[in-house]
């Protein structure tokens, strides 16, 4: 039993080391292309009408579900 756990522990550890290694290299690749910690993106994101509509509908749906679950409204 303990052997099995040891084996699994070893694999988990090894996977972690591999991912750490990989992430370090990817970071190196980002630095190599001028990354210095600031995130710069091309698209300027702004709130559109459809975002307000989505927001309101999500809130409305949750209220409706809560009321329905408390039997305050009957369907």
């Amino acid at each position: 039993m303990i052997e099995e756990q040891k084996w699994v522990g070893g694999r988990v550890g090894y996977t972690l080391i591999k991912s750490l290694n990989m992430s370090e290299k990817v970071h190196g690749a980002m630095i190599s292309r001028g990354f210095n910690g600031d995130i710069k993106i091309m698209h300027r994101y702004s709130i559109h009408r459809r975002d307000y509509v989505a927001c309101v509908s999500v809130v409305a749906l949750s209220i409706f579900l809560m009321l329905a679950s408390q039997n305050l409204i009957r369907i």
């Binding site: 990989m22 290299k25 690749a29 001028g34 990354f35 210095n36 710069k40 993106i41 091309m42």
Partner: protein, 279 residues
């Protein structure tokens, strides 16, 4: 002319135990095409990492564009002039495309470099589109880099470097894992870039491409020191040297006809490596 890169007695040791480079002294001039040859594990990739200021010499000095490269200048989040100009001037093609590609679409990937260098968005857009058109990868631009094939990934990697328009290109095993057609395409691209006056430093153990893409060759031996630093033809003609550096093997050698039938260097295309010692 002042060299752009100047290595003075540079050594590099991993974890204080594993030596990767020993006493390397070399300099590179602007506009040169240099091949760094060596077997696996000889330290060529480490050498390129030092030239790209991703690793720092354990001992010895490395001057880039006349300035001493120190960890304090680069390993900081603070903006500084030299760091920025160095990153703008030097592009590094990694051996493994999966390391180099981290954005969600090919377009973002290629736009990453110019964006980091604070170019205005319109300029970034323009440059990205130009590079995409230049490499003919319009059909890939909205796809996720990790879903592409090996050859396509390599193209995207190259595009992501070219978009910042660097003067110096450091290529780590550029033809590794590519099919013959992509290899020829890449060699021709490198030749074109060389014609534009770019400095190109390539680390490779693929002897077939060396003469096509470089005029000078540096051989790094398995003892992690530089064995020879000379012009390409004389290095490629020295079979004993190549054998010693583990770059050719008695049972695997260049077969003149087969090789030269397909590849076309625009200089020295009739040179053959053919000696009595390789049968």
């Amino acid at each position: 002319m002042k060299p752009i890169f100047d290595l003075r007695d540079v050594s590099y040791t991993y974890l204080r135990k594993f030596e990767a480079l020993k006493g390397v002294t070399a300099s590179f001039n602007a506009g040169e095409q240099v091949a760094i040859l060596g077997a696996n594990g000889s330290g060529k990739s480490t050498l390129l990492a030092i030239l790209n200021a991703l690793s720092y010499p354990t001992s010895g000095e490395f001057y880039a564009f006349g300035t001493l490269v120190k960890e304090e200048i680069f390993d900081t989040l603070e903006d500084n002039e030299f760091n920025r100009s160095f990153r703008k001037k030097v592009g590094f093609l990694f051996q493994n495309p999966d390391i180099q590609l981290f954005s969600s679409t090919v377009f973002d990937e290629i736009a990453f470099g110019p964006l980091q260098l604070d170019l205005p968005p319109e300029e970034v857009q323009k440059r990205t589109e130009e590079v995409i058109a230049m490499l003919g990868i319009e059909n890939l631009q909205d796809r996720a880099p990790h879903m592409l094939s090996g050859g396509e990934k390599k193209k995207v990697c190259i595009a992501s470097i070219l978009s910042t328009n660097p003067d110096v290109l450091l290529l780590d095993e550029p033809t590794g894992g590519l099919d013959p057609r992509s290899q020829i395409w890449l060699i021709e691209l490198i030749q074109d870039l060389a014609k534009c006056g770019k400095t190109i430093i390539t680390a490779t153990h693929d002897l077939d491409i060396v003469e096509q893409i470089s005029t000078r060759a540096i051989v790094v031996g398995e003892d992690h020191t530089i064995h020879v630093d000379s012009d390409c033809a004389s290095v490629m003609g020295n079979l004993d040297l190549l054998m010693e550096a583990n770059l050719i093997h008695r049972h695997m050698h260049r077969h003149g006809k087969l090789l030269h039938e397909y590849l076309h260097a625009h200089t020295k295309e009739h040179d053959h490596v053919h000696g009595p010692s390789v049968v």
